[in-house]
């Protein structure tokens, strides 16, 4: 009798093991299908950029290229060298670098200072000041494009890299302030109070106490700002054209230019070149990127 129950229990266990195994397989199957869906465009981009136009016409999206042919990359980066009308990404890539570096630096610095004051040198109404800045994260930029265009014109920096540095610095401040404020809130204020009693001043406390522990949030902020500014198209396309354009605008112009035959391989190579800096940052520092993404969304 006991034997029988035991064996049926065994059977049951065996059965649940099978369903479990089936569930696991199903789980992995779905996850891999989605992974393929997400990787598909990247795969197509890379493969297409390595093909000749002849291969593109003959094969399909998925066809493996016949060899490692970087010609379209060279054309996308440096052009064909026939002068007028030959657009290529190199000068615009440098425009973007010249725009990103100062804009990231200034917005990060201002945000760090603001976050420091808002948490460690609190004053009456500071919560409202924070809310005042925070709302800037969310405004649709269409509501400021017109006056911004005029302001840049008046300042004589429309259609220039300097103008874009100003724009990106200003509209980055709400985000950088949010990051630093939320980080500094979690650092105990007792340290700061003790230092104040010892007579340490505003800047000394910042540089001696807060800055040394700020590395993670500085990394998060720099990565966030770098990605946002590098990938921006709205400001770039509205406030600059021709030679001062950043890379995303140049990429779009290259792809849209309808001269002669469409060269998809060069288009894809251009898109990869424009996307590679942020992609590298993401692969190397994904953890910090995700932290920025989620804390940009969920505060506290």
């Amino acid at each position: 009798m006991q034997d029988k129950t035991y064996s049926s229990y065994k059977q049951l266990e065996q059965k649940s093991k099978y369903t479990n195994m089936f569930l696991r397989w199903f789980l992995y199957f779905v996850l891999v299908i989605f992974a393929l869906y997400f990787i598909f465009p990247l795969y197509v981009m890379v493969v297409t950029s390595l093909k000749t136009m002849e291969e593109i016409r003959q094969g399909t999206l998925l066809t493996w290229p016949s060899g490692l042919n970087f010609d379209s990359w060279l054309v996308a980066w440096g052009g064909r060298g026939y002068g007028a009308g030959d657009t290529f990404l190199k000068p615009y890539f440098w425009n973007s670098i010249k725009m990103v570096v100062p804009a990231v630096f200034f917005s990060t610095f201002i945000g760090a200072m603001a976050g420091y004051v808002l948490t460690k040198w609190r004053f009456k109404g500071d919560k409202w000041v924070f809310l005042f800045l925070l709302f800037g994260c969310f405004i649709p930029y269409q509501a400021i494009l017109l006056p911004m265009a005029r302001t840049l014109g008046v300042l004589g920096i429309s259609n220039s890299v300097i103008g874009l540095v100003l724009v990106h610095t200003v509209y980055g401040i709400p985000f950088t302030t949010l990051f630093f404020r939320n980080f500094y809130v979690s650092i105990p204020s007792e340290l700061v109070k003790a230092a104040r009693i010892d007579g340490a001043g505003f800047f000394k406390i910042f540089f001696k106490i807060l800055l040394p522990v700020s590395t993670p949030i500085i990394v998060v902020t720099i990565i966030w700002q770098f990605t946002q500014i590098w990938n921006d198209f709205l400001f770039g396309s509205t406030f600059s054209f021709g030679e001062a354009a950043p890379i995303q605008v140049a990429l779009n112009n290259m792809v849209l230019s309808s001269t002669s035959v469409k060269e998809y391989n060069v288009d894809m190579a251009s898109a990869i070149i424009a996307g590679i800096p942020t992609l590298i940052v993401y692969v190397l520092a994904g953890k910090y990127f995700i932290r920025g993404l989620t804390s940009g969304a969920v505060k506290g």
Partner: protein
């Protein structure tokens, strides 16, 4: 003097941020609001004209198409991003091997610009050499997929590309939410005989209400502002069939030189965003105060 400086140093340091945002955000929005009540064409005029621009805006067929598209896009974008995001988050939460790699793959589109991904999708979706040709070459001779150049369907190509770009983000939000739930709750439920499905459906997902709320706000916000993706994928075409408010605003301002009208459309976008964001900020702030 020095004493005063020392006492007010924090406020002085704070001043640039407050001043810049005050001028460039609030000042500029007010300027746009004012201009939307004037009859400005190429150059802004400062004589008040009333609500004429708003009347014109809501009488414009292109604007109505833009609003229609925005509603379609927002609804589908929200549903697909949230459903895919939740499925991926729950599945990844099952002690999966290679979770890190999978997560990286699901989220990498967020690191790319809409111009880059739009360029890729435009190539993939183009009817002559893209997906359509792939299926025909595989033997499905009557396979057609011409959504990109089809007036009725083009808006859905923007949904495809948009969901692909942002679904991983929702996954990240939900995964973080699920991971923050105490193991004890799940264990207790399992001891009570609940299976995994019930645990998620009855216990964990209802606990994710704040995450739903956040995703909703972020996704609606992305969709109201969407501009780059449309420029890269369809330029609002074929015809004007995929115009959205953001594209309408810049085209009206910078190609048609109707500054007053475009200011009115910008203010409509502003109000739409404010209607979503202000309750969100309010509830977040209340939650923080409660702590």
């Amino acid at each position: 003097m020095l004493k005063w400086l020392e006492k007010n140093l924090p406020k002085i340091v704070m001043a640039p941020a407050v001043g810049l945002i005050g001028w460039f955000v609030y000042g500029f929005v007010l300027w746009t609001l004012y201009i939307s009540f004037t009859n400005s064409k190429i150059l802004p005029k400062y004589e008040l004209w009333g609500v004429g621009q708003y009347v014109k805006l809501w009488g414009s067929r292109k604007w109505l198409i833009a609003v229609d598209n925005l509603l379609i896009f927002t609804a589908l974008f929200l549903i697909f991003c949230v459903v895919i995001g939740i499925i991926l988050a729950i599945f990844l939460d099952q002690k999966i091997r290679a979770e890190g790699v999978l997560r990286t793959i699901y989220l990498y589109p967020m690191a790319l610009s809409f111009i880059v991904t739009g360029t890729a999708w435009k190539w993939i979706l183009n009817p002559t050499l893209g997906i359509q040709k792939m299926f025909i070459d595989w033997g499905f001779e009557n396979f057609t997929f011409d959504w990109l150049v089809n007036r009725e369907m083009a808006i859905y190509t923007i949904v495809i590309a948009g969901v692909w770009q942002s679904a991983g983000f929702v996954m990240a939000l939900f995964l973080a939410g699920l991971r923050s739930v105490e193991d004890e709750i799940v264990k207790a439920a399992k001891i009570d005989g609940a299976n995994l499905f019930t645990v998620y459906w009855k216990i964990l997902l209802p606990m994710m209400r704040p995450v739903f709320f956040t995703s909703f706000v972020i996704l609606v916000h992305i969709s109201i502002k969407s501009y780059d993706l449309i420029v890269a994928l369809t330029q609002g075409g074929p015809g004007i069939s995929t115009t959205m408010p953001a594209l309408y605003m810049t085209q009206t301002a910078f190609h048609k030189s109707q500054v007053g009208l475009s200011a009115a459309s910008a203010m409509m976008m502003f109000m739409a965003v404010a209607a979503v964001i202000i309750p969100y900020l309010y509830s977040e702030l209340r939650r923080e105060n409660a702590r």
